[in-house]
């Protein structure tokens, strides 16, 4: 065992001993031990036994955890469907196609309905989560993430607190926009309707936002005002008769993502979907992601204890565990092949050292 508590550094104080202050080791109070820097201390050292045991146990614990989370991830059924390129008339890479796409999406009058057919690969047990995924969308951009006013959202009293919301703080006649700021202004507004064969599958959009947001962050008496009333119009519009706390899509959107690729909850499907079942998704493709290099995807996913499908954690656990085991074996081998006694005074010769150098 490497942990050797040393309780008394005073054995053999040599020449100071004769005159040292009268003291008994055990008679010292805690304060005295502190002032004399003689608090009892445990002084572990890195013995081969300790280190190798630690590494092996890390390895032994990590590999199963890794396998467990990998299999959990395997059990998640996930359907990802990219629809942004399919739901616009032109798909070319040239400038003309791009501007055509842009004018299509920006024109309010065009019919943006788009129908996608998906096959369920495996049986999906409810609840099935419906997400929309945006790639290369910088919700974490500094200009964007700061452009909000939490106080305004909370209470009508702070309606005019829009200083931080620039450039979407107020409309021309200096009346404040509620909710102000770029984040709210750029609200995602694609909609999905899912049906099997001919039966519609209801998507439950209740309780998709955080309960805390509904309860305290967004006021139940704050109603949208002047929202999307001036050019340029950003994203979705809000129902002005509902308070902010009940605009759950807005609340989800306002929880900004830290990564440029993110998914946000659209709703839940409360029924199971069988394998090989064909489903149809009717998409209202309203949201503009065509001005920049982005992707829009619809995601249907089940969930397990680690959340959605994510192999990273499992692989990382196995890698770290493996490395630890490898290091442990390497250290055991070096210990067997080239043992080096700890604290050997032979290495201490100060003379030897200077010659070595």
């Amino acid at each position: 065992m490497a942990l050797e508590p040393e309780y008394s550094p005073s054995d053999g104080r040599k020449w100071t001993e004769t005159e040292s202050w009268p003291k008994e080791q055990n008679g010292l109070t805690w304060m005295e031990k502190f002032t004399q820097q003689e608090l009892p201390a445990c002084k572990p050292i890195l013995t081969p036994g300790l280190v190798i045991t630690t590494l092996i146990s890390i390895g032994i614990i990590f590999v199963p955890i890794g396998l467990g989370s990998l299999s959990a991830s395997e059990h998640v059924v996930e359907i990802i469907d990219r629809y942004d390129d399919a739901c616009v008339p032109s798909n070319g890479d040239d400038e003309a196609a791009k501007s055509e796409r842009l004018s299509f999406i920006q024109n309010v009058k065009t019919n943006k309905t788009c129908i996608r057919n998906l096959v369920i690969p495996k049986k999906m047990k409810h609840p099935i989560y419906v997400y929309y995924q945006l790639d290369n969308f910088y919700q974490n951009h500094r200009r964007y993430v700061k452009s909000r006013s939490d106080r305004q959202y909370q209470s009508p009293r702070f309606e005019r607190e829009t200083k931080t919301c620039d450039p979407e703080s107020e409309i021309d006649d200096h009346t404040p926009i509620v909710p102000c700021g770029l984040v709210a202004w750029s609200l995602f507004n694609d909609t999905y309707r899912i049906s099997t064969e001919n039966d519609p599958i209801p998507i439950n959009k209740k309780d998709i936002a955080w309960q805390s947001d509904k309860n305290s962050k967004f006021g139940s008496n704050v109603y949208p005002k002047n929202f999307q009333k001036q050019d340029p119009v950003g994203g979705g519009k809000l129902n002005e008769s509902l308070p902010l706390s009940e605009q759950e899509d807005l609340l989800v959107w306002m929880r900004t993502a830290a990564l440029p690729n993110f998914r946000k909850l659209y709703g839940r499907i409360e029924t199971d979907l069988e394998a090989n079942e064909n489903i149809t998704v009717v998409i209202q493709n309203n949201y503009n992601t065509y001005s920049f290099d982005s992707k829009k995807q619809l995601v249907l996913s089940t969930t397990t204890w680690i959340g959605g499908k994510n192999d990273f954690l499992g692989k990382a656990y196995i890698t770290v565990g493996g490395i630890c085991l490898f290091l442990a074996i390497a250290f055991i081998l070096t210990y067997v092949i080239k043992p080096r006694p700890l604290g050997d005074p032979a290495y201490l010769s100060w003379n030897l050292n200077s010659k070595e150098r």
Binding site: E4, E6, G12, K14, S69, F137, A257, G343, L348, N351
Partner: protein, 1105 residues
């Protein structure tokens, strides 16, 4: 530049010169804030933080709430300012006390009691016995009819003996009452700080004696802060007042000392600053490019088309603010805190308490403890530092008979006691000289106990010894001395005193025996000043042999002699002496010449040997510290032989054949030059040999060498590990310190007297011994200790631990700042290089000043090795001396670790919390938790000994982190509302944290283990040896083995000098031809000297790397 002072003239010169208000204050009430702020902002780090704080006020660029910088900044400044204000307030209080002290001053011809601060130049001040002198005075009258008074000047120069002061001849014999009305003018120089010079003239106005100008010297003055002793009263005219006194002028605010560690930290800070600027420029450019290419397309960001002129600067400035945490603001507070704790540990240390005086060690300067661990040169005073400065009469040789040789103490030598009781004339005459030939003042207390006040400790020792041999010097009544010899009262009238000067090296008195009327000349002095003056026919061989023998033993010797004078001879000489004494020009030289006319044909009575005992543990201390690779220089005002003897007896230099002394001497430039070259040559040759070479230099040669051959002398100083400088003045001591400092060595000066003050202030570390020569040195020093031997503990324990702890603490501070900063930088790459902060203001501030500062603060309790191990293996100090634990390469290690950990935290966080989990606040909190866990384990891994406090701080901090964040998460208005609750419920959070911790610590642990076991440093080996409890082969064992080995192979080298009697072997010839002289054997040579040499070169080499 002169000033004319009109004595006792109330109207004149009132406003010309300042009043006597003393002020040691640095600030006034009005200038405190601006001046203090100005001083604080003269440090680079503070300017930097201020700039950052100001930039943060611009909300366009600030990533976080400005309060996160302003809060700590204001706190830090407030702490420093409060400390300064408190110190200044205390100075103000002590000034006030001195200023409001009441003194008697003549105003309008009447004595009045006024406050000290109202004294003006020209006022006549009256002092009574034991009064403190309030300002610099020219003495006008005393209670003594001879016009003499005694002063104690300890506060001024540290000398505790009494000095005599006389009134000027012009005011001699003026009646007590008339002194009130005295008028006159004093012409004196403008104030200066020379306490040994006062060249002025006095002229009294009628009706007082209106003779010519009366010259004034320092002997006619009473300087501020001296005490009047043994004199009923004295009065004088104020010449310098207030801060213009000699004391006030020499008082300077000592420059704050900066430790090597501080300098290194500043350097590293500079490097980090440069790195930061580079990062800012790169990211700033990248950010602007991204903005212009990508961000314009991101419609939701709504970049305006036209932008203000400073648009290009915004992103770089944002990154500057984001990266500003790279330089940890907490490091200053943490360092200040732990440094004051280091100082407290020194104050508290029970093993550094002087048991006799109960004086504790004290760290006056709390900021330089780390330097103690990096000392390379120790410059030590001899008397009172290495020795106890308790002069004790030990042996004597009277007319060829040695007393005290058997038992080492003449006072208990039966033979001598017998001789005294039988009344041997030689012995009695010898004792009489001991008792009479001095300037000692006996003071009889009420209880009848006689104590002596003497100018020199030697004289006091002689008088005491005489007293214990029944020749008691009872009383001094004017000029008549009373001696009680075995109950018989002898009276002697002192006719003249031929004073001691360093040129004459002897002093004599002419006394008349009141009984027989015979006149005697009694002398004592150095052998070379007395023995050649023996009467023809007297054999002085035995005396010179005695002197040699005593010097060999490290005793101070004095030769005593006497001569009976004829009445006529004396009368004739007396006239010449009076005449010489009244000369205005060349007085000293003339007096010396006249004295010489009387001092001849001596009857040599004998030699007295006085011991100045070494302090306890001095040889052990010196040998331990030399093993630790510290070089010793001895700087003493004492003479060469004594210095060398003391050096030998305290392991300072080793005797032959290991040691070798080279003499550097000469009276002229040429001689010194030749001598210096010779010494250098020898030094270069022997430097390769494992030999302990030291050089000896006296003050005169040193003066020339420093003036004309500074380069050569510097080379010598670097080559030589040991030096003995004798007969050096205080300013030369300071010059030598300066010389070593200019070669970039860390110097520690240790001394006890006023003459060491300059050296102590000059050195990197000044240590004062609170000894018998007053507290002057201790007060000026950074550390004061009671005994020389505490130096071992001060350096090896306190210095070493302080260095180790600061090295860890400072690098760790950078590590944790870099860690979080790297994460911010990485995050900027996935946030469109726009300068978004991943962490919120609260987290950032708490991370810097709380989560990461508390655990590391308890590293002040960390001990890598136990005190015993360090004491047994002092060589381990090399690691501190060479700065092995804090230098650019160790720092690079920490930098790398910060980078690695940042990558681990960042990569794992953004891959675990992807897609629907990538909510900003959550990701930020996961990354922050990862950092906190990692840093807890880093501290744990780097801690060598865990006391309960460390466990509490490290793991308690982790618990506190969660507690605090859970509390903050419970506050609805906070940005982090419910975040921590949500996270703690998720298994994903915990698996991620464990993964981060293990992925971060695993490789670090493995690397550390590998180096610990297979590339172990000496510290590691000693740790292993100490803690595995195996047999520690201590140095003692190795030492003894090697010694026996050495003895076997080197009989040749010691056989040669063996056939000469070591006692009579002269130590060191003074003749210039004998540059190399060996020291006789006798003490065992030290094997480890050679090893330290080697290791020290090794240490130097590695330092250069």
């Amino acid at each position: 530049m002169k000033r004319y002072i009109y004595i006792n003239h109330d109207d004149l010169a009132q406003d010309l010169y300042c009043d006597n208000r003393i002020s040691n204050r640095k600030y006034t009430l009005w200038n405190f804030l601006p001046k203090n702020l100005w001083e604080q902002f003269s440090r680079f780090m503070n300017q930097y933080f201020l700039l950052i704080a100001c930039l943060q006020l611009w909300s366009l660029i600030t990533p976080v709430n400005p309060a996160s910088t302003w809060g700590p900044l204001i706190f830090i400044f407030a702490v420093s300012a409060t400390k300064e204000a408190w110190d200044d307030y205390n100075r103000y209080l002590s000034d006030k006390k001195a200023n409001e002290k009441e003194v008697w001053v003549v105003r309008q011809g009447v004595k009045k009691l006024i406050q000290s601060q109202d004294i003006h130049v020209g006022n006549i001040v009256w002092l009574r016995e034991n009064d403190e002198v309030p300002c610099d005075l020219v003495l006008l009258g005393t209670a003594d009819p001879q016009g003499i008074c005694y002063v104690e000047t300890a506060a001024l120069d540290g000398e505790t003996d009494l000095k005599t002061r006389v009134i000027p001849s012009a005011s001699m014999g003026i009646d007590f009452e008339l002194l009130h009305k005295i008028k006159g003018v004093i012409e004196c120089p403008s104030p200066d700080k020379d306490i040994r010079r006062f060249d002025a003239n006095l002229r009294l106005f009628p009706p007082f004696l209106d003779n010519d100008m009366c010259p004034l010297t320092i002997k006619n003055t009473l300087l501020q802060s001296c005490y009047l002793r043994n004199t009923e009263w004295a009065c004088g005219v104020a010449v310098y007042t207030g801060n213009e006194t000699k004391l006030g002028m020499s008082r300077g605010i000592a420059e704050p000392k900066l430790t090597a560690v501080d300098a290194m930290i500043d350097k590293l800070t500079g490097a980090i600053f440069v790195f930061q600027i580079v990062v800012v420029i790169v990211l700033g450019i990248a950010g602007n490019i991204w903005k212009n290419t990508e961000a314009k397309k991101q419609w939701y960001v709504e970049y305006p088309n036209e932008s203000p002129w400073y648009e290009l600067l915004i992103i770089p400035l944002r990154f500057e603010l984001l990266c500003s945490i790279m330089i940890p603001i907490s490091i200053k507070v943490s360092l200040d805190l732990v440094k004051s704790l280091y100082a407290k540990f020194i104050d508290w240390d029970d093993q550094m308490v002087d048991l006799e005086t109960r004086i504790r060690s004290h760290a006056t300067n709390t900021a330089i403890s780390e330097d103690l661990g990096q000392v390379e040169y120790i410059l030590t005073d001899k008397t009172g530092t290495l020795t106890e400065n308790k002069m004790i009469f030990k042996r004597c040789c009277i007319r060829g008979t040695f007393y005290g040789n058997e038992n080492g103490d003449a006072l208990s030598d039966a033979e001598l006691l017998n001789a005294v009781s039988t009344g041997s004339t030689d012995v009695i005459q010898f004792l009489k000289v001991m008792a009479i030939c001095n300037t000692v003042v006996p003071i009889q207390s009420n209880t009848g106990v006689i104590s002596y006040k003497a100018q020199s400790q030697d004289e006091e020792a002689l008088v005491r010894a005489a007293a214990s041999l029944h020749m008691v010097f009872v009383n001094k009544n004017g000029n008549v001395l009373e001696i009680n010899f075995n109950g018989l009262l002898l009276r002697y009238e002192v006719l003249d005193i031929l004073e001691f000067t360093s040129d004459r090296k002897r002093m004599s008195v002419v006394v008349k025996c009141c009984l027989s009327g015979k006149i005697y000349l009694l002398s004592k002095g150095a052998d070379e000043a007395i023995l050649p003056l023996a009467r023809s026919g007297q054999q002085t061989r035995t005396f010179s042999e005695a002197v040699e023998q005593y010097a060999q033993l490290g005793l101070r010797t004095l030769c005593l002699a006497s001569r009976e004078l004829d009445d006529d001879e004396y009368r004739e000489w007396s006239l010449m002496f009076k005449e010489a004494n009244s000369k205005l020009v060349d007085r000293e030289w003339r007096v010396a010449e006249v004295c010489q006319r009387l001092e001849h044909d001596f009857e040599i009575l004998g030699v007295a040997a006085i011991e100045d005992r070494l302090q306890d543990g001095v040889p052990e201390t010196i040998s331990t510290l030399r093993k630790a690779g510290i070089n010793f220089w001895m700087l003493t005002g004492d003479k060469q032989n004594t210095a060398i003897q003391i050096a030998l007896s305290c392991n300072f230099v080793s005797p032959e054949p290991k040691g070798q002394l080279l003499l550097l001497s000469g009276k002229t430039e040429d001689e010194v030059c030749r001598s210096l070259e010779r010494v250098l040559l020898t030094m270069r040759i022997t430097n390769t040999e494992p030999k302990d070479v030291a050089f000896v230099v006296d003050g005169w040669a040193l003066e020339i060498a420093l003036k004309h051959y500074r380069k050569a002398f510097t080379e010598l100083a670097i080559l030589s590990r040991t030096a003995i400088c004798c007969r050096v003045t205080p300013s030369q001591k300071a010059q030598l310190v300066e010389l070593l400092k200019s070669c970039d060595y860390r110097t520690l000066a240790i001394g006890d007297g006023g003459n060491d003050v300059r050296m102590i202030q000059q050195a990197d570390i000044g240590v004062g011994i609170s000894g018998r020569e007053g507290l002057q040195a201790a007060r000026a020093a950074d550390y004061s200790i009671g005994k020389f031997r505490f130096l071992t503990r001060l350096i090896l324990v306190h210095g070493r631990y302080s260095y180790n702890r600061t090295a860890f603490l400072s690098q760790y501070s950078f590590y944790k700042s870099l860690l979080i900063c790297f994460i911010q930088i990485f995050f900027s790459f996935i946030s469109g290089v726009s300068g978004t902060s991943l962490f919120n203001s609260v987290s950032l501030m708490a991370y810097n000043v709380f989560y990461t500062s508390i655990p590391v603060l308890v590293s002040v309790l960390d001990k890598d090795l136990s005190e015993n191990t360090v004491m047994q293996h002092p060589q381990i100090l090399f690691y501190c001396q060479a700065g092995r634990l804090l230098n650019p390469s160790t720092f690079a290690g920490w930098f790398g670790r910060a980078l690695f950990h940042a990558i681990v935290v960042f990569v794992i966080t953004i891959h675990s919390f992807v897609f629907e989990k990538s909510e900003m606040e959550e990701v930020s909190m996961v990354a922050l938790s990862g950092c906190i866990w990692l840093q807890a384990f880093v501290v744990a891994l780097e801690t060598n000994s865990f006391t309960i406090l460390q466990h509490l701080a490290i793991w308690g901090n982790l618990v506190a982190f969660y507690a605090i964040n859970l509390i903050v998460s419970a506050i609805p208005s906070s940005e982090m509302h419910t975040i921590m609750f949500r996270l703690c419920r998720q298994p994903l959070y915990w698996t991620t944290i464990i993964l981060i911790t293990m992925a971060g610590m695993g490789p670090v642990l493995a690397l550390k283990y590998f180096r610990y076991t297979y590339r172990s440093s000496k510290i590691n080996i000693l740790q292993q040896a100490e803690r595995l409890g195996g047999p520690i082969l201590s140095l003692g064992n190795i030492e003894s083995q090697s010694r026996s080995l050495e003895k076997d192979i080197s009989p040749l080298s010691i056989s040669q000098p063996k056939n000469r009697n070591p006692v009579y072997e002269p130590l060191l010839s003074d003749s210039p031809s004998a540059t190399r002289r060996s020291i006789g054997p006798g003490t065992p040579f030290d094997f480890f000297q050679s090893q330290t040499r080697l290791s020290s070169t090794y240490m130097r080499n590695s330092k250069d790397n």
